[in-house]
């Protein structure tokens, strides 16, 4: 009798042995790709005559531009993993910049970060009450929060900031001081040690100087706020996959009824997730305010939306969010640099796409290979022969993200209950 049970699903994959091998394999693959990427960057630098592509300034910029997007996307991940679509990230971020400006003005940089969280929480709480408690349409509430946050920020700035101490309707008084910048000892001159990477970068020796530039950019003078922001990604991954709350959190976004039937508190879980997420979105705003040492009106510049896009791009995974936001931050940094740096990026993309396309064709997935191959060839032709309008560089992050989406092979899998209302009283059927 028991033998027949086995046949329930012959097509189901065999039980995968769970050991460390897959992750070690993954590490090895990551290393391989990393090395290939490095090689490509070095080649691109010479081909495009663009020292900027491996310069520490570019990589430092990339890091700093990545942080706010990564953090706001992680904020979105909290609420969306719990099943609540968060279109209001931009508004929460705006709230974060505003309160960060206020707190930072009163109490300094640490308070600014805290204020960012508070600012995000204000709108998170509003969204929680409207979406979880009252069950209103999450898209509507999200859009409304964006509009309301922008309007309120200005209205309140007029009352609170205008006319005091360097403040205007569009700016808070200055946040005095900033969080310390850290460097890695012996690598990038932390703690007064010699700055190895800078020496390497300045040496001009091929490979050595590029590695020096890249590593130096990523490790030199990194703001504590940026470090905290980046650490939020692994921390979130830990909470998501390895804690009891994480399991309930995922269940609330996948099948809330199942959680509820087992006695889990769906609403409480969603509240916590949404509030934490809004706090993080606000944190991202606080980070921006710290960079400019003040709240500046509209300084979020649509990063909340980019964060939302990054979240989807990253397939609602912390690792994906990291990947997406770094891609975006890096292209943004490149776009702000000199035109030839942007061309070097084109070259890198062209090569990656062509190789990817050829690999796919070689492995027999001819159809899947066409898109990257074609795109790669187009990019290569553009790189070689077409003079580009300088304005194009400002769109670099968007174009790169779009191109990656076009060639990516994976399909997105949003949390199954994303956007589903879950009434207070359970009445199934």
């Amino acid at each position: 009798m028991t033998g027949t049970l086995d046949t329930a699903s012959p097509s189901a994959p065999a039980a995968a042995p769970r050991s460390l091998t897959p992750s070690r394999q993954r590490m090895r693959a990551a290393l391989r790709w990393g090395l290939l990427g490095l090689g490509l960057i070095i080649v691109a630098q010479y081909v495009a005559d663009a020292p900027g592509i491996a310069a520490s300034s570019t990589w430092g910029s990339a890091l700093r531009l990545t942080v706010p997007i990564a953090v706001v996307a992680i904020g979105g991940l909290y609420s969306e993993r719990a099943g609540i679509i968060n279109v209001g990230l931009e508004g929460m971020m705006i709230g974060g910049t505003w309160v960060a400006g206020l707190f930072g003005w009163w109490w300094g940089p640490w308070a600014a970060l805290g204020g960012g969280i508070v600012g995000g929480l204000i709108f998170g709480l509003l969204m929680a009450v409207l979406c979880i408690e009252m069950g209103l349409n999450q898209l509507v509430v999200g859009v409304a929060i964006n509009v309301i946050a922008a309007a309120l920020a200005r209205f309140m700035a007029d009352i609170v900031f205008n006319g005091v101490d360097g403040g205007t309707i569009a700016r808070s008084p200055r946040i005095d001081g900033s969080l310390p910048n850290l460097s890695v000892p012996f690598l990038s001159g932390g703690l007064g040690t010699p700055d190895l990477t800078r020496t390497m970068e300045a040496s001009g020796i091929p490979v050595v100087s590029q590695i020096g530039g890249i590593v130096g950019g990523l490790t030199h003078d990194v703001s504590l706020a940026a470090i905290i922001g980046l650490l939020l990604i692994p921390a979130t991954a830990y909470v998501l996959w390895r804690t009891r709350f994480g399991l309930r959190w995922r269940a609330a976004g996948e099948q809330p009824a199942a959680l509820q039937a087992l006695g889990g508190k769906v609403h409480r879980t969603r509240y916590i997730a949404l509030l934490v997420g809004s706090g993080l979105a606000g944190f991202a705003g606080g980070y921006l305010a710290l960079i400019s040492q003040a709240y500046v009106e509209n300084q979020t510049a649509g990063r909340g939306f980019i964060g939302l896009a990054t979240l989807i791009f990253g397939n609602w995974m912390p690792s994906g969010v990291f990947l997406g936001s770094s891609l975006f931050g890096f292209s943004d940094a490149v776009g702000l640099g000199r035109p030839e740096t942007f061309r070097a990026l084109l070259f890198i993309l062209a090569v990656i796409f062509i190789v990817l396309g050829l690999l796919r064709v070689y492995r027999g997935a001819r159809k899947a290979g066409i898109a990257p191959l074609a795109l790669g060839v187009v990019l290569l032709v553009v790189f070689l022969f077409v003079p580009l309008p300088s304005a194009l560089a400002t769109a670099a992050p968007y174009l790169v993200t779009l191109a990656v989406l076009v060639v990516a092979g994976t399909t997105m899998r949003p949390p199954a209950a994303l956007g589903q209302l879950f009434p207070r009283k359970n009445s199934r059927g």
């Binding site: 329930a8 699903s9 804690t243 009891r244 399991l247 269940a251 199942a258 087992l262």
Partner: protein, 509 residues
């Protein structure tokens, strides 16, 4: 036999608005017994069970568990009292792993760390103790129905339930799976638990239950034991109709092939195909039954025939190749389809019956008038389905979600047969349907057959297959492994073919 009374419900009343779903129900379940509850669709069985499981609150009446009166404010309360329920529709998070679904909300570990090792080993050992072959690390999405059900039961066992409620557990299982479920149920009762199970399959109720309670229109109309009653007694108590039977056929099978598949294969390149080089033919006026354990290629065959799955090989209707045609055209040419999962494929739950009646028939009159959608036309269709197939629980403007499962099924069958199709692809047409409705569906199928409809019937219910089919094809691992004459084979033998114990092709034409 001196047995403890584990559950005692007295005078349970549950109203939904003015509608009384449970009307002063008394129920007593003893430890170590299997207690079956039977009744027609909408009789109030599930509602009663939800009350016992703390998911609904009774308007009147008392619940006593092991002698102590209880009042459950939440499912959690009921779980703590030792009650576990496996729902008619599973409640599993598809994207989570088996062990995650099981331990959810009751995880081992501390606030800062989920002890996944302990959780996994505990779930695995529970599964082992009960002879459940499930991979605790598998993602639930990849499991078949039987596997999912085992996960649901594991959830109950994990919480040390002494009272286990199974709402129509066998409706979706093939016989062998059902057998092992019953074996597991026995083990639970031997360990001192009580099992309450709901079923529309009276023979299994008679075989496995110790006590039977019959409910009709929300009230208990009979209490009996298998020893004291027969299937027809139960049926009579339930709905006052006879057991469904199929009259011997009078019209012979036609000569023309209405549906033909040649060398149809479905599967991703580089993987073992889910459906492997299958050829079959359905004649007019013929019902061809497909038997097989779920997951052996039947779903893929249905999807390929319907035009929803990419496949190689050819499919022809009435001699014309339709392989390249989209679903829409296939349906327009007279292909009807009763889907496997009515909630997913059969109806749009949030739409009214009027709109649901148009589903699949939206491209032809009376629903389509020029480019316009005729609401009155659709309403007319819906009304005729409701009256002809005795669909109860609403009118044309009632949303499909308001109907009980059985009535939804009747509505779908009615819609698909009502359009005078040439070919019917029917999957589990009576799944979850009470025997009254089952009779109705069967007679509609045979009547359509006699008028020349060619039917491909996939069912997990072997009695249904044996009763209705003119020929039986057995699927195993994506292939047809046997072609049998239903009159010359019994359920036992059929089961052996289905599980790959016996293999033979050819057989009776």
């Amino acid at each position: 036999m001196e047995q403890d009374v584990l559950v005692r419900l007295t005078g349970i009343v549950k109203r939904f608005g003015a509608f009384v779903a449970n009307d002063r129900i008394d129920l007593t379940v003893k430890a170590g017994t299997v207690h079956a509850i039977v009744g027609e669709n909408g009789a109030g069985k599930s509602t009663l069970m939800k009350i016992l499981a703390g998911e609904e609150h009774p308007d009147e009446g008392t619940i006593e568990i092991a002698g102590t009166p209880r009042s459950f404010r939440s499912p959690r309360d009921a779980q703590q009292a030792g009650i576990g329920i496996v729902h008619q529709h599973f409640l599993l998070a598809d994207a989570l792993r088996v062990w995650e679904n099981v331990v959810l909300a009751d995880e081992p570990g501390s606030a800062f760390r989920l002890d996944s090792k302990a959780a996994r080993s505990r779930v695995a050992s529970l599964a082992e103790q009960n002879d459940f072959l499930v991979d605790v690390n598998a993602v639930v999405r990849d499991l078949g129905v039987g596997g999912r059900q085992r996960v649901e039961i594991l959830k109950v066992l994990y919480r040390d339930a002494r009272i286990i409620i199974l709402d129509e557990p066998t409706a979706v299982l093939v016989p062998s799976e059902a057998q092992s479920l019953f074996a597991a149920m026995r083990r639970f009762t031997e360990a001192g638990a009580a099992v309450i199970f709901i079923s529309h399959k009276l023979d299994e109720v008679l075989d496995f239950a110790d006590e039977i309670t019959v409910i009709r229109a929300g009230a208990v109309v009979g209490r009996t034991t298998p020893a004291d009653s027969s299937a027809s007694d139960l049926a009579a108590l339930m709905v006052k109709v006879a057991m469904p039977t199929v009259a011997p056929r009078e019209v012979p099978v036609g000569d023309d092939v209405v549906l033909e598949a040649k060398g149809v294969t479905v599967g991703e390149a580089g993987e073992v195909p889910a459906l492997d080089d299958v050829s079959l033919a359905v004649h007019s006026g013929e019902i061809v039954g497909i038997a097989g354990v779920e997951g052996n290629g039947q779903s893929e065959l249905l999807m390929a025939l319907l035009g929803r799955a990419r496949h190689t090989g050819t499919i022809a209707m009435g001699g014309r190749d339709i392989s390249a045609l989209p679903t829409e055209t296939r349906r327009a040419r007279g292909m009807a389809y009763i889907p496997e999962d009515r909630h997913r494929d059969g109806v749009v739950l949030s739409m009214a019956l009027r709109e649901n009646a148009a589903l699949g028939y939206h491209a032809r009159p009376p629903v389509k008038r020029g480019p316009w959608f005729s609401r009155s036309g659709a309403a007319g269709v819906a009304r005729s389905i409701i009256s002809r197939f005795d669909v109860r629980g609403g009118d044309v403007s009632t949303p499909a979600s308001a109907l009980s499962g059985g009535n939804q099924q009747k509505f779908i069958v009615g819609r698909e047969l009502g359009s005078d199709p040439r070919v019917l692809i029917a999957a589990h047409p009576t799944r979850g349907v009470d025997i009254g409705a089952q009779s109705a569906v069967w007679s509609e199928l045979t009547a359509a057959r006699d008028k020349g409809l060619g039917t491909l019937l996939v069912s997990a219910d072997l009695d249904e297959l044996l009763a209705l089919s003119d020929r039986l094809l057995v699927f195993y691992r994506g292939r047809i492994v046997a072609e049998l004459d239903p009159r010359a084979v019994d359920a036992q033998e059929l089961g052996e073919y289905m599980t790959g114990v016996r293999t033979r092709t050819g057989g009776v034409a």
